[in-house]
């Protein structure tokens, strides 16, 4: 996708330039009611532009992939959604100069891919779940499509945070992915029942998120580009005003980013988190916030500051950090280094985030901090 970087750089400029003046409507996708939901019928609908940002929250260990992440830029995609009482269909298009299909006999190549994510629980009284495959209190459904030679690689998962992606068998959905050589773009189309045992999407305002993998950038797993939560607005269904009010909090110019930045330092956020020029915290000690503004909604940011225990995020595999100071067991095994687990689990299995709640912050302080975090893209 290198060729498109210049162009993308441009679009990112525009976005960051009007940082703070974002509007909730940017995150709303109008869904049309259609009797006949096909890729063809959706392609006639107006497309909504969405941005996807490189995932930075956790850093993985593929040296070559990590080099590429540094160069990775946000990309733009277009989506259209249609529904009827039975089904919902989503059409996703994005430019990709380099079509990558995972070949049959190599170890180092990866295929392009796309996924659509829905929270299993949403609506009035339910807080937004963590964007990265959900969290313990907010499981999500993920539909994945990948370009793999000789195989129709499509899977449905249920997940509640990093490492918990669990394949389930969902009948009656189709997910296709075609490369349009003329326009050098991928066209993906998913059609699924509006309601299944696991997931009910019959609602006026349905949170949805998208991820795209670029094989050429060695993308796979958390190594990807993601959106924040978008909201599908079903034109013929009722929207709960409270829920709308809740999720639309914090858009637009809500505070002073500069002050927010200082507040974060004063409150010692940089002691655990890395972001922008703040890199004192050990890698992996807490989620990296460098691009958090790109894929987090304002209300989510607020929640996770005020009540971190509501969205406890699983850290990556705790075996990535051993405690060399501790004593080895009889087989020479070091204990894991607890410093790198993001939560504490009591013997009943209840987990609490290691991040303390910052409820004491004033409303304005919160707004300023969120305003600052939104600029991190």
């Amino acid at each position: 996708m290198k060729k498109t970087l210049a162009l993308l750089a441009l679009s990112t400029l525009i976005i960051s330039s009007n940082a703070g003046t974002d509007s909730f409507n940017d995150d709303v996708i109008e869904a049309k009611s259609l009797n006949n939901i096909t890729e063809e019928s959706l392609s006639n609908l107006p497309m909504k532009k969405i941005m996807l940002y490189p995932q930075y929250t956790v850093r993985l260990n593929d040296a070559n992939a990590n080099k590429k992440i540094e160069e990775e830029k946000p990309i733009e995609a277009e989506v259209a959604v249609a529904y009827n009482p039975k089904e919902i269909g989503i059409l996703i298009k994005w430019k990709d100069e380099t079509k990558s299909v995972q070949p049959a006999m190599t170890t180092t190549k990866f295929g392009d891919g796309v996924s659509v994510q829905f929270p299993i629980k949403y609506g009035k009284g339910t807080t937004l779940s963590y964007i990265g495959m959900g969290d313990t209190k907010h499981p999500v459904m993920v539909y994945l499509k990948k370009a793999v030679e000789g195989r129709d690689y499509q899977k449905a998962f249920i997940a509640e945070g990093f490492g918990s992606l669990t394949e389930i068998s969902e009948k009656g959905y189709t997910f296709t992915m075609k490369y349009d050589d003329a326009n050098k773009q991928w066209i993906a189309f998913i059609k699924k029942p509006l309601k299944t045992a696991d997931l009910n999407l019959a609602s006026g305002l349905v949170p949805v998120a998208f991820a795209i993998w670029d094989g050429d950038s060695l993308n796979r797993d958390g190594n990807k580009l993601i959106t924040n939560w978008k909201f599908i607005k079903m034109d013929k269904m009722k929207v709960d005003p409270n829920y709308l009010k809740y999720v639309s909090w914090g858009y637009g110019d809500i505070g002073n980013p500069e002050r927010g930045k200082e507040l974060m330092i004063q409150n010692g956020c940089n002691g655990c988190h890395r972001y922008a020029d703040q890199t004192a915290a050990p890698e992996g000690l807490a989620p990296n916030l460098s691009k958090i503004g790109g894929y987090s909604n304002p209300i989510y940011l607020r929640e996770s500051i005020v009540n971190p225990n509501d969205v406890v995020i699983r850290n990556l595999n705790i075996n990535r950090h051993y405690n060399k100071a501790a004593e080895k067991d009889k087989n020479g095994a070091y204990p894991n280094n607890d410093m790198y687990t993001w939560y504490i689990k009591d013997d009943k299995g209840n987990i609490t985030s290691k991040m303390p709640p910052y409820a004491q912050l004033s409303e304005q302080d919160l707004k300023d901090i969120v305003a600052y975090l939104k600029t991190l893209k």
């Binding site: 956790v58 993985l60 260990n61 593929d62 040296a63 070559n64 990590n66 995972q102 070949p103 049959a104 006999m105 190599t106 170890t107 180092t108 793999v148 195989r151 690689y153 990093f162 490492g163 992606l165 669990t166 394949e167 796979r220 797993d221 958390g222 890698e283 992996g284 990556l316 595999n317 075996n319 990535r320 950090h321 051993y322 405690n323 060399k324 080895k328 067991d329 009889k330 087989n331 020479g332 095994a333 070091y334 204990p335 280094n337």
Partner: protein, 380 residues
């Protein structure tokens, strides 16, 4: 942290580089189904690039502070693209040739080593998965789909949950976990646990013609593995600096003829293999290990007893393996698998261990019907 750890010791002084282990493993596991390019067991000449090519420079493992290091994923050429031949065309009078270009292979620099004639040198290192106590592959897996078996510490990839991300390959400093493109998941040496559970040593060890491989539990104080690793400390892990605590141990190369001076006269007490190289491979402990070996050999040469020499000589092949089958039967019972085909003993010869007395069978009878297993409760 598994309850117990099954381990292997390989004596590099006895390794003749014949690769019977490599082929035994291949026919047992990797001659099919997308594994063709994999050598769960390979034997490489050192000094040399090894398999996959330059694996020692490919990263992974843990840094000084115990944090996982970034690594790379070798490409197919580094592994050696498994080439095929036109055998069928021999009936058309054709020459026999490969169907693809020859660029590199898993044993490409066989016997090359280092130095210059007449002072060249080389030795062999057979390598399987080290079934580490701190496995790099396991740590690297964001799916947490790689695990150590509680009962014996064997490291396995859960092929149900693996999604083929390949961070494990970058994370393993030994590059002993492989991507199977056919199923788009990672596979690796499984220490032949299905054989072990039924009374057979891993194929590579069972069939090792050089008789260099001992298999047993690290906590089995009667066993050769314990004695070589803990009692005599002559068996050392490969590249301990990678920080994964391997459970495959090597008796380092002591056998090494003297060099010649410019007049072709042998130089007394000279070594061909540079000690720096052995330090790189086995750490500083290698000096101690070689000294112990040397002293015990001298003792033996003087006609004195040496338990260490007795162990390394290994009089009885069957006694090189202590699979402690009663222990596995107990574990199977817990999982309700006792008596299932998976745990039916097929061979009586290698069952002894901390919880299992040697099954005294008359020679020759192991091929006949399986003798009843006498139960013995104890330990572990």
């Amino acid at each position: 942290m598994s309850k117990r750890q099954l381990a292997m010791v390989m004596d590099l002084n006895k390794c003749i580089g014949c690769q019977t282990c490599t082929v035994a493993c291949k026919t047992q596991w990797t001659n099919r189904n997308g594994r063709e390019y994999m050598y769960w067991n390979n034997v490489e000449t050192h000094p040399g690039a090894g398999y996959p090519r330059n694996w020692m420079e490919a990263g992974g493992g843990f840094d000084q502070d115990g944090n996982l290091r970034d690594g790379i994923i070798p490409d197919m050429v580094d592994y050696g693209i498994p080439w095929d031949y036109n055998h069928d065309e021999l009936f058309k009078g054709e020459l026999l040739h490969t169907k693809s270009e020859l660029e590199w292979g898993p044993n490409w620099d066989e016997d090359v080593g280092g130095g210059e004639y007449p002072n060249s040198y080389f030795f062999y290192i057979p390598r399987i998965c080290n079934h580490c106590s701190n496995p790099g592959c396991l740590a690297a897996c964001p799916r947490e789909a790689i695990f150590k078996r509680e009962q014996d510490g064997i490291v396995l990839v859960d092929l149900e949950r693996c999604q083929g991300y390949r961070y494990c390959i970058a994370g393993c400093p030994y590059k002993k976990i492989y991507f199977n493109p056919k199923i788009s998941k990672s596979e690796k040496c499984i220490f032949c646990f299905p054989r072990v559970e039924r009374g057979l040593p891993p194929a590579c060890a069972h069939q090792c013609v050089g008789r260099i491989r001992f298999v047993g539990f690290l906590d089995d104080e009667e066993g050769q593995v314990y004695k070589l690793v803990h009692k005599y400390k002559v068996a050392l892990p490969l590249r301990p600096d990678f920080g994964t605590q391997p459970n495959v141990y090597y008796v380092p190369p002591l056998f090494d003829p003297p060099k010649f001076d410019e007049n072709m006269a042998p130089i007394e007490n000279s070594r061909r293999i540079p000690m720096e190289y052995l330090e790189l491979l086995f750490g500083k402990e290698v000096h101690q290990a070689l000294d112990t070996l040397r002293k015990e050999m001298e003792k033996r040469a003087r006609g004195e007893e040496s338990e260490l020499m007795d162990i390394l000589i290994a009089y009885s092949h069957r006694d090189m393996f202590r699979l402690d089958n009663n222990y596995y039967q107990q574990e199977a019972a817990k999982k309700g698998l006792k008596g299932s085909e998976f745990f039916r003993i097929v061979d009586q010869r290698y069952l002894q261990g901390a919880n299992t007395q040697r099954v005294e069978i008359k020679d020759y009878t192991f091929h006949e019907k399986i003798l009843p297993q006498e139960e013995k409760k104890s330990g572990h």
